[in-house]
Symmetry: C2
Subunit: 147 residues, 2 copies
DNA sequence: GGCAATCGTTAGTGACACGAACAAAGCTAG
DNA sequence: CTAGCTTTGTTCGTGTCACTAACGATTGCC
């Protein structure tokens, strides 16, 4: 009995739903969504890149990257310029405003994580991180469109 | 650096996405979705109930329960009858076909969980279950519509 | 007997994951 | 050099899901 409560797939879903709600509510106060953070953080850490690279690094679909970059350019947080070396590509660059926004989002998300992980001790948080990382890495081989 | 990989909120999302995809693909082979399983399992364990009760027990919105029950009745897996004691309510009952379907789905999901948790040892799986349960329970107080 | 709460239901929103197809550009093999 | 394959950005569309708002019918409470 109580299969629902013990199904790991369901536990994962439920936890992710709560987590996503917290994250989205918090980011909304800074006029951002999770994708915005993902792109800004990736640009800050890995430097400028094409949209295809951003897609690979963030896990956002290449069809959805377009809108995200549009929104970020509209907010002046990134710049989109054609790549002279390969005219198929765009080069996306973080602006100063983007860097400031990333700082804000970092602080917001730190608060959310505290909230989210409140019932767990320090070692438990570390263990959860480790287990989840193992899971995510294990299923990494999957690529959309490549059945 | 590598904030994305260390954000628990993001790890949770990513793991849930992989998990949900596996679950949905597997359930689709039996003409079912995760909601179907949630309702069937709840009925089997807690007995017949109103749609409001099902909503509370499964976490499905009461506005979405309608469609799920419609689909399950169309497949002959549950029955919807008005409750004579309270004519606002319907009583949803599991049929024999529903019980058989639940058995099928149970086997399918067991396979999925094996797949999903493949990289984890037995104790690790137990620990993950415990941590996730703690998280989910902690944020249980939240009710939609009640800000 | 009137009011608030409950229940099922419909309709709609917005975010997401994902697919199909296309034009432009680049790469590779003959 | 040319024909063919691949990559890139982009548009449009699909299905699922969480969630809100509103409504008629019913019921419980005072």
């Amino acid at each position: 009995m109580d299969r629902l409560r013990n199904l790991r797939a369901r536990l994962l879903s439920q936890a992710a739903i709560h987590s996503d709600r917290l994250v989205n509510e918090a980011l909304a106060t800074a006029d951002a969504r999770k994708w915005h953070y993902a792109v800004l953080a990736t640009l800050a850490e890995q430097g400028p890149g094409s949209q295809a690279q951003l897609s690979a690094r963030t896990g956002i679909y290449r069809s959805d990257i377009v809108a995200v970059v549009n929104e970020l350019t509209a907010r002046g947080q990134v710049e989109r310029a054609p790549n002279p070396d390969d005219r198929r590509q765009n080069v996306i660059t973080l602006t100063e405003a983007g860097r400031r926004q990333l700082g804000r989002l970092d602080r917001i998300l730190a608060g959310v994580e505290d909230d989210l992980l409140a019932p767990l001790t320090g070692p438990e948080r570390a263990e959860l991180t480790r287990l989840l990382t193992t899971l995510v890495d294990h299923h990494k081989g999957w690529t959309p469109g490549v059945s």
